[in-house]
């Protein structure tokens, strides 16, 4: 569920634009004003504000924000203003430009969006970067990672409830067999994890547990330093419970020496209108600390205020 709160009587886009314009004028910028407006508007409303601003002042709001804001706050606001598909496209492109085997942003995006949402991302990617998402993924990755990530971002999984129970069982056995052989990059593992539907995979993981006495991720943990295994485990966890996976991403981002603002911004801006409420609940259960308290301790200034607003905990 969304954690964004929109005021009951919302100012018109024109009024919002006027306030934003005021916030940019004069010495410095009134960040508080920007947050109080933008963090409390829905996607449709934000789009209207962008359009109105361009009409009223002949400037792209994004460019103005780029000029006026800085660093983590700026990045979060710019991402927040974009439509979700474009946002994900920008995040995917950023992840690819500095890709390394321990970068799991692509997996996170590909595995927590619906099949149709992923296609919207691919469409937005082509429009913005004049290349397909999969061609860039292919070029920036290699070896087993390429074999895993290209199908992962290209998949269009069936999203219905139908499952072939005996097939799920047999594929649980196949997964086990390849894992035993330590053939983690084997075609069969990749085929099953990147093409099968979510329901089918849930059944498969269940069968794996029943048949072999422990969850598949236990067997995939044989080398905790192996990035490829980490990637496979991430895929499994996203199928089983995306919110729990995302909670862990946030937790690790906060607990890291210094903070991983990149991951924090990514998860919060992309999930604030989707399932942030559920993620907050999991965070509290898991850490006995509320997410807003953790963020207050770990982040500062306008960036902190913006994130708090997005997770629905501003003053």
């Amino acid at each position: 569920m969304s954690t964004i709160s929109v005021p009951v009587s919302v100012p018109s886009p024109a009024e919002d634009c006027e306030q934003l314009r005021k916030a940019f004028q004069g010495w410095g910028t009134n960040e508080g004003s920007i947050i109080s407006i933008l963090a409390h508007r829905s996607g449709a409303q934000r789009r209207q504000i962008r359009d109105s601003y361009a009409q009223a002042y002949g400037e792209d709001l994004l460019k103005v924000l780029d000029k006026e804001l800085t660093r983590d706050f700026e990045k979060a606001v710019l991402l927040w203003i974009l439509d979700p598909p474009e946002r994900d496209a920008v995040l995917a492109n950023e992840a690819l430009k500095k890709w390394s085997p321990n970068n799991r942003a692509l997996i996170e995006i590909a595995m927590t969006r619906t099949a149709d949402e992923m296609f919207a991302v691919r469409r937005a990617y082509r429009g913005r970067f004049k290349r397909s998402l999969e061609e860039d993924v292919a070029v920036h990755t290699n070896g087993d990672f390429r074999k895993l990530l290209v199908p992962l971002v290209s998949s269009y999984r069936y999203e219905g409830p139908e499952v072939n129970a005996s097939l799920a069982k047999s594929e649980a056995k196949i997964l086990h067999e390849k894992i035993e052989e330590k053939a983690y990059g084997h075609e069969e593992i990749i085929r099953i994890l990147t093409t099968r539907s979510k329901e089918h995979l849930l059944a498969t993981f269940n069968d794996y547990n029943n048949e072999f006495g422990h969850p598949i991720n236990k067997d995939l943990k044989s080398d905790p330093k192996d990035d490829f295994l980490f990637a496979l485990r991430a895929i499994v966890r996203c199928i089983i419970c995306p919110e729990r996976y995302l909670e862990k991403v946030i937790r690790l981002a906060i607990n890291k020496m210094g903070t991983d603002e990149c991951a924090l911004t990514r998860v919060i801006t992309t999930r604030a209108e989707v399932n942030m409420k559920h993620i907050k609940e999991i965070y509290y259960k898991r850490n006995s600390v509320r997410l807003d308290h953790a963020l207050k301790k770990d982040t500062t200034g306008d960036y902190e205020d913006f994130l708090l607003a997005l997770i629905g905990q501003d003053a």
Binding site: A138, N142, P151, S154, S155, Y156, E159
Partner: protein, 303 residues
């Protein structure tokens, strides 16, 4: 009666008039059965219809029905059904390459949407599961693509990828080419305009078209042909389907190609056919097909 058969489809009118005129004349029909010895066998006290021939008639009579049903169908559903048939009835995989490479990005997405609705699985999961040969990764990549369709091309990249392809072809010995990661990457992810420029550079660098150099690996050769020029590819398919002695699957291509391209690039296909084979496609179709089937084909091919 011989006039009513012997091509693709059947001449319904001729057959009706031929057999109809023998009402109340069973001895005339018995004579017919005796004279078509290949189709009827003497068995006990009567001439039995050969099973093979009944089967043949069933197929030929159905051509008109099939083309009508397919023509009425949404293009997405057509492609999804053809792909599913290939995977479950062991038709040749070239139909998958054809669909994946000659449809636009949105049409291919449409086929995947229809596939979900019809078969409750994704197209790529079925391709990955049912295609066990070494070109499985290539096919999965081709059906999963959502290629950029704009004109923006990086010439340097195209040149360098032409070289990558050339090196792969020269060194691999065409057998393993279809599993080569770089070959798969380039052919399954790059935009079609980019690939056409890449193929052009290939010809400049190596003196031969990449199609020729891929002669032994039919799957890759067809991929390249479909991506480079669908009209040329389809005109070749037309030539094969209209030749004498074509097998069942090849004959079925006639309906499939005409129905799927009538609204897309039929004019270009006719032009390519004329250039390659020196004949008008409509004329050859008119010669080799019969009855309502022929009429349906010709109306879709256009004058």
């Amino acid at each position: 009666m011989g006039q009513g058969l012997g091509g693709l489809g059947v001449d319904e009118e001729a057959l009706v008039s031929a057999l109809g005129k023998w009402r109340h004349q069973p001895e005339k029909r018995a004579q017919l059965r005796k004279s078509f010895a290949g189709f009827f066998t003497a068995d006990g006290g009567f001439e039995r219809f050969e099973d093979d021939y009944i089967h043949y008639l069933k197929i030929e009579f159905a051509r008109f029905k099939n083309i009508m049903v397919l023509w009425a169908m949404h293009p997405w559903e057509r492609d999804a059904r053809w792909a599913n048939d290939v995977l479950h009835k062991a038709h040749p995989f070239d139909i998958i390459v054809e669909i994946a490479c000659t449809r636009s990005s949105e049409e291919l997405l449409g086929a995947r949407i229809a596939y979900h609705a019809l078969f409750h699985r994704s197209l790529e999961e079925d391709v990955a599961y049912h295609v066990r040969e070494n070109f499985s990764n290539l096919l999965v990549g081709l059906v999963s693509a959502y290629r950029y369709e704009g004109d923006s091309i990086n010439e340097e990249m195209a040149k360098s990828e032409a070289k990558t392809l050339g090196t792969a072809i020269k060194s691999a010995g065409v057998r393993n080419l279809v599993e080569n990661g770089e070959v798969i990457r380039i052919l399954t992810t790059r935009s079609k305009p980019h690939l056409r420029v890449t193929f052009k550079y290939y010809r400049e660098m190596y003196g031969k078209s990449i199609e020729e150099d891929l002669g032994d690996e039919l799957c890759l050769q067809e991929t390249v042909q479909c991506l480079d020029s669908p009209p040329k590819y389809f005109s070749k398919v037309m030539d094969e389907t209209l030749k004498d002695g074509a097998d069942k699957n090849t004959k079925d291509a006639l309906t499939r190609v005409i129905v799927s391209r009538a609204d897309v690039d039929m004019e270009e296909i006719k032009a390519a056919y004329h250039e390659q084979y020196g004949a008008q496609l409509e004329d050859v179709i008119a010669m080799k097909t019969l009855g309502n089937y022929r009429d349906a084909l010709l109306s879709l091919v256009g004058q």
